[in-house]
């Protein structure tokens, strides 16, 4: 069959093209534009080439923020994924209590980011916060505004509180899809509890867990609001994650050039990690693991 050629069809793509241009392409190109120029005000720009990129690559500040960011994402994944699976495994499988658990667990997911931040900011205060006050009364030195360990602990516990239920809900959905016959067969084969988890539950949950890991990684890698509200990146720079640092640089110091170079590199890092992740995922799928 001959293909019909109709150049007018391009007009149908035009609205999308315009929309994407205004919402993504032009802003992104502006960033690219900033990243290769320098300005001393007055809206006068000078060509700077790759200077800002070189600067950023040699900047300890950025490497430190990246290291903190990677550590943050790694820690919350290492806590939330196993904890989510554990919660899902121990949830009632059906009936009233199952629905009850599902609703209770969805609650943190519905709270806006800045509210979560505010809740924990107050909760952790030594003078009026329940958590801070209690810890202080027990003689444990805890002050997230002065002690960087306490600040990290607060930010991580807050993220775990906010997002573990997402992992648990996804894992629960995966578990629910396993037919009873698998458990019955496992009983007949005299499989141990660990073997049931390892050979039945985990493989059947793998698909949803991959999605959970990807979602949690991306979300945590661009986290901004909650730690900003709680610690503002402090004490010092100890909880200054990538996005907090970027905003400081771009809007606080108004260093447009370095900030633009920074954000492009930030974007490339996310792209790189997502690509690695995707490749590993599809390979696992092919191998049948």
């Amino acid at each position: 069959m001959e293909k019909t050629v109709n150049q007018k069809a391009w007009f149908l793509v035009l609205p999308v093209l315009l929309l994407v241009a205004f919402s993504a392409v032009i802003p992104l190109m502006t960033v690219v534009n900033y990243s290769v120029q320098d300005t001393f005000g007055n809206n006068q720009f000078f060509w700077a080439g790759l200077e800002w990129f070189e600067d950023m690559l040699h900047s300890d500040r950025m490497w430190d923020a990246l290291a903190r960011q990677l550590m943050f994402s790694a820690i919350i994944l290492m806590i939330q994924i196993p904890l989510g699976i554990f919660v899902a495994l121990n949830m009632p499988k059906s009936g009233f209590w199952s629905s009850f658990c599902l609703v209770m667990m969805s609650l943190p997911l519905l709270i806006p980011w800045n509210v979560v931040g505010t809740i924990w900011q107050i909760f952790g205060r030594v003078d009026i916060g329940l958590l801070g006050y209690t810890l202080d009364a027990l003689g444990i030195s805890y002050n997230y505004t002065q002690n960087s360990f306490a600040a990290w602990a607060t930010v991580i516990v807050m993220d775990v509180w906010h997002w573990t239920s997402l992992v648990a809900l996804l894992a629960f959905a995966g578990l629910k899809s396993i037919p009873d016959a698998y458990y019955q067969a496992a009983k007949i084969d005299q499989a141990s509890r660990w073997a049931i988890f390892r050979y039945i539950e985990l493989p059947k949950m793998m698909g949803v867990l991959m999605i959970a890991i990807l979602l949690r990684f991306m979300d945590s890698f661009m986290i901004y609001t909650e730690p900003f509200v709680v610690t503002g990146g402090g004490p010092g720079n100890s909880t200054t994650l990538l996005s907090i640092d970027l905003v400081k640089m771009a809007l606080g110091q108004f260093d447009l050039g370095p900030a633009a170079a920074f954000s492009i590199m930030y974007y490339l890092v996310i792209l790189l990690i997502s690509w690695v992740f995707y490749t590993v995922m599809t390979n696992l799928d092919k191998k049948g693991g």
Binding site: P179, A181, Y182, Q184, A185, K187, I188, D189, Q190, A191, S192, A195, Y199, I200, P203, K204, K287, G288, G289
Partner: protein, 358 residues
């Protein structure tokens, strides 16, 4: 291998069953003889799988006891009962290889690795998957997966019984024959007690030494395929076994005479006065279409199924099926039927009534 005794067994899925209707499995006493192959036959929802799960220990009965060789195992776990069971849908461990799947039940019981390797090879050969032993189970077709499930069921030699819960539902027809034959030869070779649940009468009749027919939570008849065919003890067995099933016609019976809507026919045996719903049952194979004598029928259609013809007719408003020979010609003036008196059974309230020999 063991003799399995069901003593006063019953099961209800309700916590407090009130009437007999609440029981998915009604009171049952039965011995499954050691080393026999049984088929458990019945339509969906008749309690077959419930009974099977009680025997394997996946379900605790509401009342009664189960004994293996005289030992009470009612409260023993599935693994203590040492039973193998194969389910309707394939259960394989996706991430393992076929070999590891087959070895899994042996490994869990701490068998000697050398023995496991040998035994798995043997089973792989039996299910025709020797070449695929080192493939992962995940990408396989449904038949192949079900063959693995069957293999995993057979891998242990010392099991007390092998239970099959409609295992061939997902398998291709030609493969069904092959696997069924293999199961049968396996039975001859090792002499395991086997219980095979199915709703397919051909499967039941070809597989088993004895067929247990269940209806509405009750065992209605246990017998050889021939007994089920010739003397169904319940009208359900008559309907369910045979193709088409037995003709059941309301009648009045006294002495050696049966009266169907005013027309009478002679029976082989004599009956004393019968109370309740009285019916006569006769298999289509023992009904013949004639010209002059017998009960009047109205032939509606003739189906030629290849080996024989099935005549669908109307006898005083009851549907009646007649099996006629493939080369027998059927003419419009053949509007009467006669029954072979030796094969006419009398049912009272659906249960067979055996008359006295004349």
């Amino acid at each position: 291998m063991a003799k399995i005794t069901l003593d006063n067994l019953a099961h209800s899925y309700y916590p407090n069953p009130k009437s007999e209707d609440d029981f998915a499995l009604k009171e049952l006493n039965h011995d499954w003889a050691d080393g026999e192959a049984y088929a458990l036959l019945g339509s969906s929802g008749c309690g077959k799988s419930t009974l099977l799960n009680i025997i394997s220990g996946l379900l605790q009965p509401s009342q009664g006891r189960i004994l293996f060789d005289g030992h009470d195992v009612t409260h023993a776990t599935t693994s203590d009962r040492n039973i193998a069971q194969v389910f309707q849908f394939p259960v394989v461990y996706d991430t393992m290889t076929v070999r590891d799947n087959l070895a899994f039940p042996l490994k869990n019981r701490g068998a000697d690795p050398k023995y496991i390797a040998e035994r798995v090879q043997q089973i792989g050969q039996m299910i025709g998957m020797e070449a695929e032993l080192d493939n992962r189970a995940r990408g396989l077709t449904a038949d192949a997966k079900q063959k693995i499930s069957l293999g995993r069921g057979m891998v242990r030699e010392d099991v007390n019984a092998l239970l099959f819960d409609e295992p061939l539902t997902v398998i291709d027809p030609h493969m069904k024959w092959e696997l069924r034959t293999q199961l049968k030869s396996l039975h001859h070779q090792f002499g395991h007690t086997m219980i095979y649940v199915t709703h397919d009468q051909t499967e039941a009749l070809t597989f088993a030494d004895k067929v247990v027919v269940m209806y509405d939570g009750r065992v209605v008849q246990i017998g050889t395929p021939q007994e089920l065919f010739e003397r169904p003890e319940h009208t359900f067995v008559g309907y369910f076994i045979g193709s088409p099933g037995m003709n059941v016609i309301p009648a009045k019976v006294s002495g050696k005479m049966a009266n169907v809507h005013g027309a009478s026919l002679t029976l082989d045996r004599g009956y004393t006065a019968l109370d309740g719903k009285v019916e006569i049952g006769v298999r289509p194979e023992f009904v013949s279409l004639t010209k002059g004598e017998g009960l009047p029928v109205n032939v509606r259609r003739v189906e030629d199924v290849g080996r024989h013809k099935i005549v669908r007719a109307d006898l005083f408003g009851n549907e009646i099926n007649i099996v006629a020979g493939e080369d027998q010609s059927i003419s419009p003036d053949m509007n009467r039927v006669v029954f072979d008196p030796k094969h006419v059974n009398v049912y009272v309230n659906d249960w067979l009534k055996v008359g006295e020999a004349a």
